[in-house]
Amino acid sequence: MTEKTSGDLRLTGVTKTFETFTAVDQLDLVIPRGSFFALLGPSGCGKTTTLRMVAGLDQPTIGQIWIGNKDITETKAYQRNVNTVFQSYALFPHLSIVDNVAFGLRRRKVPDHRRKAMEALELVQLAHIAAKKPGQLSGGMQQRVALARAIVNRPDVLLLDEPLGALDLKLRRQMQIELKQIQSEVGLTFVHVTHDQEEAMTMADTIAVMNAGKLEQVADPATLYERPTSTFVANFLGQSNLLKASVKSRAGGMADLDVHGLTLRLPVDRLKADTTELWLGVRPEKLRLVGPVGAGDVNGAGRTADNRLTGVVIDASFTGLATNYLVRLPWGQEIMVVQQNDGTRPAARGAQVTLGWAPEHGFALNASQDAHAGAQDQADDSGAG
C-alpha cells in the first residue's frame, strides 16, 4: 500500500456512445481501494452503463479502465477480477444455492471451494439453505445469495447494480446496514449504483453524482449535502430553496447579497472572486420560525440567526417527525421549511411568519444553471425568483 494509486479503480476519459446518443461522456474517476463508493443519479444518467464497463460486460468507445497499474480495458469480463451483484440477482435456477456461490471459485479452480462457499453463506446468514434452489427463496434471501456469490471471490472491485431496488422498505433499511457492515468486515472496494439518494448517503463513504453521462460532483455525503456545487446536486440530494441574489459588497469574511430588495448574508468563502449573480441556497431544515430579532435568537450552535425572511404559510403538513411548511415569500416564490417536532406549536395555514437562518448554512450556486435541475418531482411552483 505504498503507492497511492495501487489497487485503486481508475476511469480515464471513459466515453460510451451508442448510435443515437452518448451514455457516458469523458468520465474521469478514481475510486480508492477499500472504500464504499456510490454512483448516484437519475435513470438514464449513465451510471449503470459505467458499471457494466467496469464489469467488462460493455466496452468503452473511448477511454481506459485501470485497477492499480493494470489496464483492464481490453480484458474480457471473465478475465477480470471484478464481480457484480445484479439488480435481478441472476442466480442460476438450475443450480443449488451453494453451487451458485461456488460457481466463480470453481471456474478459477480454487481449492476447497465448497468450504469457502459455505463461509460466504454464513457471512450472509444463509448457511442453512445451502441445498435449496433459487426458485424456493424470497427476494431478500436471493439478494443475499447474490452478494455471497460475488464476495466469495474476493474481487478487486465489487459492483452492486441497484441491488436493493426490489425489496420492501424495512428489508431495504436492514440490508443497507448489513451491506455496510460486510464491506468493512471484508475490506473490499464496493461500487454501488443507485438512484436512491438516501440509500447512497446512508451507505457510501464517497458519492459520485452523475447526470446525463457526466459527473456533477464527487464528495463525501456531508460535503455533497451541505456544499453542493451545482443546482442538480442541490436538488437531487434532499431539497433546496434557491433564491436569486446579486453581490452588493464583501467585508470581513461576510458578503452582503441583494435578494429581491432584502439584504441577506453569506460567508465570502462560498463565493468565487468574480461572482456577481448567484443562486443563494438554503436547506429547508436550516430555516427556523422565529419572532422579531431579540435575545432568544441565538441558535443551538451559539451563532446568531442573522438572515431573515417574512412570508405567509401556504401549507403545513405534520409528518410526526416534523412539520413541513410551504411558505410564500413577498415576491411570490414558495419555499420549503422543515421544522422538527420539538414541542413548539406549529404555525397554521395563512399565518404570517418570520424565518431565520445562520448565514453559514447557505451555499452559492452558479446563476446560469437551471434552478429546477435534479428536482425529483417537477411540481409547478411560481418558479425560482
Binding site: A77, Y78, Q79, A90, F92, R107, G135, Q136
Partner: protein, 264 residues
C-alpha cells in the same frame, strides 16, 4: 341450472376433452375384443388373446422395430442439427437471417404429399433405390424444422443476464455455454426431441413415398392392415403407446414442476 351457467366453460371444455379421448378409449376397449372376421369394428366377446400374444400378427413386431430404430436415429440427428440452427438464429446476427427463418418454416408449411413426392423424384433422379436410408433422410428433414422452432422458443425465454452473470464469475464462453446455457435450454431440446420422435414414428405419407416392400414401418403396416384386415394386436400396441405417452408426459410435468417450485 345456475350451476351449469357458471361452469359453462368448464363443461364445454370437458366435452371437448372427451371427444379427444374417446378414440383412445375405443382402441383400448377393442383391444380386448375377439372379432369374428378380419376387421375389428364390432364387439364380439371379451378376450385377452391379443394382449398375451402381441406379436401374433405377422410382420407387426418387425414393423414396430423398424419404426423405433428409424425414430431413434432420426430424432438424434434432427435434434442435433436443429439445435445448432436454433442457436445460430437466436444468438447471432448474420446476413440472410430472415431468409433462413423462411427456409426453416417452409417444410412445416408444405403438405406431406408434396414433400414426400418431391423427395421421391430426387431419389429417382439420383438413382437411389427407396428403402430405409431414404426414409431416414426424409424423416430427419421434416423433423428438423419442428426441433428448431421448439428450441428457439426455449432460448428466447432464457434470461440473458444469467449468461452475463456467468461471465462475471470467470466463466469463458465455452464454460458459460456448457454450465449455464445448455442446462437451461435442455428442457426445450428434450421437448423438441420428443416431438421429433413422435412425428417420425407416426408418419405415413412421406414414408410411403420413400419406402420399399422390404422396409415396412409401423404406420405402413397399419395402413396395409386397414385394407386387408385389422388384427387386434394393432389395438394392443396403440393402447400401450397411449399409456406410455401418458406416463412420459406426466413424468415430464412432474420434473418441470419440481424445478420451478417456489417455497413460501
Amino acid at each position: 341450472m345456475r350451476w351449469v351457467r357458471a361452469h359453462l366453460v368448464g363443461i364445454a371444455g370437458m366435452v371437448v376433452l372427451s371427444y379427444m379421448l374417446i378414440p383412445n378409449l375405443v382402441v383400448l376397449v377393442f383391444s380386448f375384443n375377439k372379432p369374428a372376421g378380419n376387421y375389428n369394428y364390432q364387439w364380439q366377446q371379451f378376450s385377452t388373446d391379443a394382449w398375451t400374444n402381441p406379436c401374433g400378427a405377422p410382420g407387426i413386431c418387425d414393423s414396430l422395430g423398424l419404426s423405433l430404430r428409424i425414430g431413434f436415429i432420426a430424432t438424434v440427428v434432427a435434434t442435433i442439427l436443429g439445435t445448432m440452427v436454433a442457436f445460430a438464429i437466436s444468438r447471432h446476427r448474420f446476413r440472410g437471417r430472415s431468409a433462413t427463418n423462411l427456409l426453416i418454416f417452409l417444410p412445416m408449411a408444405t403438405p406431406e404429399v408434396v414433400m414426400g413426392s418431391s423427395l421421391l423424384t430426387l431419389f429417382i433422379a439420383m438413382g437411389v433405390a427407396p428403402g430405409t436410408p431414404t426414409i431416414l433422410i426424409a424423416h430427419i428433414l421434416f423433423c428438423m424444422s419442428f426441433v428448431v422452432v421448439t428450441v428457439k422458443a426455449r432460448i428466447a425465454s432464457l434470461d440473458p443476464r444469467l449468461e452475463q452473470a456467468a461471465a462475471d464469475l470467470f466463466a469463458n464462453p465455452m464454460q458459460t455455454f456448457v454450465r449455464v446455457t445448455l442446462p437451461l435450454v435442455a428442457p426445450g431440446i428434450a421437448a423438441g426431441a420428443l416431438l421429433a420422435f413422435s412425428l417420425s414414428f407416426d408418419d405415413y405419407i412421406i414414408t410411403n413415398f420413400n419406402a420399399s416392400p422390404s422396409s415396412i414401418t409401423f404406420p405402413m403396416f397399419v395402413w396395409g392392415a386397414a385394407q386387408r384386415g385389422t388384427p387386434v394386436q394393432i389395438n394392443v400396441i396403440g393402447s400401450v403407446m397411449f399409456l406410455a405417452a401418458l406416463v412420459l408426459v406426466a413424468t415430464g410435468q412432474l420434473i418441470s414442476n419440481r424445478r420451478n417450485k417456489v417455497a413460501v
